[in-house]
């Protein structure tokens, strides 16, 4: 450690109010130093305190939180003791933050130009040029095409990647010496994330700024940071060079965290060859769907119609052999959720045919035969919204038992307990309400509910995307076990390629509503036929490859 570290933290403690008289500790007396120009990653699952720590560097606490002790010095200045007007001179000028969600972080009624110019004027960063010129320069430095056009646009008119570059530009206005990035690429597609990360890395090398990168994604940290903290419950459990921590974690928690990350290299070896037609549990032929709504009866809409929309899904054909898993991978807007909705019967397609076990799957669920409905079930992404908060766990799981098997209350309760036990929960969960459960527990209840009807096909729509990495690993484990024991077929949808690779025998890659690649997992991943899949693979591979590189570097 150099004699004068850039940032020095001593016994920092942060608490937040959970009730009229109670407080919880979010950061528990941490101490560390950071050198100038260092790239530090802070990793942890939800609730570990990393977001609070990130904001503490800017001497900012969220409403309801307060600094309960300690000091945080940047270049010798204890920022926690700054007065309000001094804070204004510090924030944005000497230290800046790139927040998590670029869409909600930009003021919706201000243009990009207005955002930048406001900051340029505030921090007097124009440097001889007009504020507008400086803003355009910044946008160009972010490698945005056509900065002049973007200058006049509103945030919602830009793509996710463009918005994030704008937010980064806003952080760089005054050329701060410290930049904190709080999960800046979590909301972005993988290919876009790759580009944004490259940009950030280049900028950091050029300016030598101290970079603190907060994320739950170890792959990203491995790629961007030389040093890493692993946080849990407000404490820093691990602190060291990235490769060292990743290859030889000292604590059990860090070990389990690293082990839980799905890696592309562990793709599920498949033992089936794709075949179309006979014996397929689910087969789809040339499915089409679009959201366009005809004006219909309303004369007002005829006079003033909306603009037409492009089709969401086109020419989809696939076949899933029973008892196997087909993984559907796609980025946002690929139509993967729409596909699940169509198979489930929540929407009706505009063309093509779907067959399940030989029978035709007609449009909407109420029109289908009850037994068919029982055999096709779905698990949704956000367990909090897929479980009715007014119902108890027992009511939630007993309902399909009543509908599909006509069970009495007593019989249903017995069976519910069986299901809950199968999923690692117990009878004590029967009269809890969803709000009293954690994310992982909620998702297990959702899975129990889906399996209550003894389905043959389960559609999984981003079922672990909202969960922490370790919880995700355990939920995926449960799902694999259920498949082995019951011979269920899965249609597994996700944007996360390593997760899909781990779970699926076959993979289908969707882009903008069209199939780009389809076949055995190992075949598609080792030799993709479309450029889109190649790019996707590259984006994911780069991330985990970094991890491997660092591991190898350290080993050698």
């Amino acid at each position: 450690m150099p004699a004068h570290p850039h940032i020095e933290v001593r016994d920092l403690k942060l608490v937040y109010r959970t009730g009229p008289k109670t407080e919880t500790t979010a950061i528990d007396a941490v101490s560390f130093s950071i050198a100038k120009g260092e790239t530090l990653g802070i990793v942890g699952e939800s609730g570990c305190g990393k977001s609070s720590l990130a904001r503490a560097f800017l001497a900012y606490t969220r409403p309801g939180a307060r600094i309960a002790g300690g000091s945080l010095s940047v270049a010798g200045l204890d920022v926690l003791k700054l007065k309000p007007d001094q804070l204004l001179a510090y924030r944005g000028r000497r230290a800046a933050m790139v927040p998590q969600n670029p869409l909600s972080s930009l003021t919706p009624h201000l243009t990009i130009g207005q955002h930048l110019v406001e900051l340029i004027r505030l921090h007097k960063a124009a440097g001889g040029r007009t504020p507008k010129e400086k803003a355009l320069e910044l946008l160009a430095a972010m490698e945005l095409p056509d900065p002049a056009a973007i200058y006049d646009r509103y945030p919602h008119q830009l793509s996710g990647g463009q918005r994030q570059r704008v937010v980064i530009a806003a952080a760089l206005v005054a050329e701060p010496e410290l930049i904190i990035l709080d999960e800046p690429t979590t909301a972005l597609d993988k290919t876009v994330e790759s580009q944004v990360l490259d940009l950030v890395a280049r900028l950091q090398k050029r300016t030598g700024t101290t970079l603190i990168y907060v994320s739950h994604d170890l792959n990203v940290i491995a790629r961007m940071c030389e040093r890493v903290f692993v946080m849990k419950d407000g404490k820093v459990l691990e602190d060291g060079p990235t490769s060292a921590v990743f290859t030889h974690p000292r604590t059990d928690y860090a070990r389990s965290l690293i082990a839980a990350i799905p890696k592309l290299e562990t793709a599920k070896p498949s033992n089936v060859t794709p075949f179309h037609g006979q014996g397929a549990a689910l087969s789809i032929e040339k499915l089409e769907f679009s959201y366009a709504r005809p004006p219909g009866w309303n004369p007002l809409r005829r006079l003033f119609p909306n603009a037409p929309q492009p089709p969401t899904l086109a020419d989809i054909s696939l076949a899933i052999p029973p008892g196997t898993t087909l993984g559907v991978v796609g980025e946002s807007g690929s139509g993967k959720s729409t596909l699940a909705a169509l198979v489930a019967g929540l929407a009706a397609g505009n063309g093509g045919e779907m067959r399940f076990d030989g029978q035709i799957l007609s449009g909407l669920a109420p029109q289908r035969d009850r037994d068919l409905r029982r055999r096709v079930q779905m698990i949704f992404q956000d367990p909090a919204s897929s479980l009715n908060p007014q119902h108890t766990v027992e009511q939630l799981i007993a309902r399909p038992l009543q509908i599909f098997f006509g069970m009495s209350r007593a019989a249903a309760r017995e069976r519910t307990v069986e299901l809950l036990t199968e999923l690692g929960l117990g009878a004590t969960f029967l009269d809890r309400s969803p709000r009293q459960l954690s994310g992982g527990q909620q998702q297990r209840v959702a899975i129990a509910r889906a399996f209550a009807g003894k389905p043959d096909l389960v559609l999984c729509d981003e079922v672990t995307s909202a969960l922490d990495v370790t919880v995700q690993a355990s939920v995926l484990g449960v799902m694999k076990r259920l498949q082995r024991e019951h011979g269920t077929t899965y249609l597994f949808i996700s944007h996360d390629l390593p997760v899909v690779a781990e779970m699926s025998d076959q993979i289908l890659v969707l882009e903008k509503g069209r199939v780009r690649d389809y076949g055995d997992t190992t075949a598609v991943l080792s030799d993709p036929s479309s450029d889109y899949t190649k790019n996707l693979l590259a984006a994911f591979a780069t991330a985990s490859q970094q991890l491997t590189n660092r591991t190898m570097k350290h080993a050698s």
Binding site: R91, T107, P108, P305
Partner: protein, 325 residues
């Protein structure tokens, strides 16, 4: 900008439909429900003096013996052309009767609206700067208190306090209906304040909620982390977003304003449409009631239309999205 035209066009057409529906409701309420205009207007004792034939003649004269839908069509057409017919009792044109009171009330409502908006915005912004703080509690508490006071009570208290105890103005400014408009304006001051005291509270709460939500948003946090001073965040970033829920409540707000002004006018003896309405109710003058109801609804609908357009101006997402509307 051109994308806005279909949206505005749809809203205009919609407003027209709504206004027609309102006319229908007014018509049904006044002319179709138990008893028609004749039995409603002329008290039973008087009616007994007429022979059935004379009653039938009167019915025919007023067109009351035609089928309902024909009558409605005629009423609808007349209302929309602003031809309000003649009163039943005195047989004078309704339009002349209500013209000046209408203008007076418009002045009263207009001034009240302007004052209320200004007060609400200033108070709302101040209160949300530090939610739960002393200023917020003071303002919120006061507005809660004033909202809970019935408007007729507030008006009376004003009369007592200002006119009697403080002797600031004569007990009531007796402005005749067609007095010069400046006199009307002077007479409107107290009623406006009385209206504001009660009416502003509701809009204030809407704005305050909107402001607090905007100030807690991710974009306000980002601005704060970037070193933007609090006042700028308040006015430049938060206020425009916060105004939208308030504007969406405009129709209800204006309707309540008109409602409240009837009471206030009565207490202050202000020569406006409210007093006219009460008189028409006492005398059961259907044509006047219809005319006032229609014009009041028109005012509310126009206000709503303006508010909708203001929302379009404030929220670019609505403007450029083709899904809305």
């Amino acid at each position: 900008m051109t994308r806005m035209i279909p949206m505005i066009g749809r809203r205009l057409a919609l407003s027209f439909v709504i206004l027609s529906l309102t006319a229908l409701i007014v018509f049904l309420g006044t002319e179709v429900l138990p008893g028609d205009a004749i039995t409603a207007t002329i008290p039973a004792e008087e009616l007994a003096f007429y022979t059935p034939q004379q009653i039938a003649e009167m019915r025919h004269e007023y067109g009351l013996d035609r089928p309902v839908y024909l009558r409605f069509l005629e009423v609808w057409q007349r209302l929309f052309s602003l031809d309000f017919g003649t009163t039943i009792v005195k047989r004078e044109p309704v339009y002349d009767r209500i013209l000046h009171p209408m203008i007076n009330s418009a002045i009263l409502a207009g001034v009240a609206l302007a004052v209320m908006l200004a007060a609400v915005i200033v108070l709302g912004v101040l209160a949300s700067l530090r939610p739960g703080g002393r200023l917020d509690n003071a303002i919120s508490g006061t507005t809660l208190f004033t909202y809970s006071m019935p408007d007729f009570v507030v008006s009376n208290i004003f009369v007592i306090v200002f006119a009697v105890w403080l002797g600031l103005s004569p007990a009531v400014i007796f402005a005749s209906t067609d007095a010069p408009k400046l006199t009307i304006l002077a007479a409107a001051i107290l009623p406006v304040v009385a209206l504001c005291v009660h009416g502003a509270a509701y809009q204030f709460r809407l704005l305050r909620t909107g402001m607090i939500e905007a100030l807690n948003s991710d974009y306000a946090e980002r601005a704060q982390l970037a070193g933007v001073p609090a006042w700028r965040i308040c006015i430049g970033h938060a206020l425009p977003s916060a105004l939208i829920p308030m504007l969406n409540g405009t129709a209800a707000f204006v309707a309540a304003l008109l409602s409240g002004s009837v009471v206030v006018e009565s207490v202050f003896k202000f020569p406006g449409i409210g007093s006219e309405l009460l008189r028409a109710l006492a005398q059961r003058e259907i044509p006047i009631i219809q005319a006032i109801a229609f014009l009041a609804a028109l005012a509310v609908i126009v206000a709503n239309l303006i508010a909708d357009i203001a929302v379009l101006a404030l929220d670019p997402r609505v403007r450029t999205s083709s899904r809305h509307g």
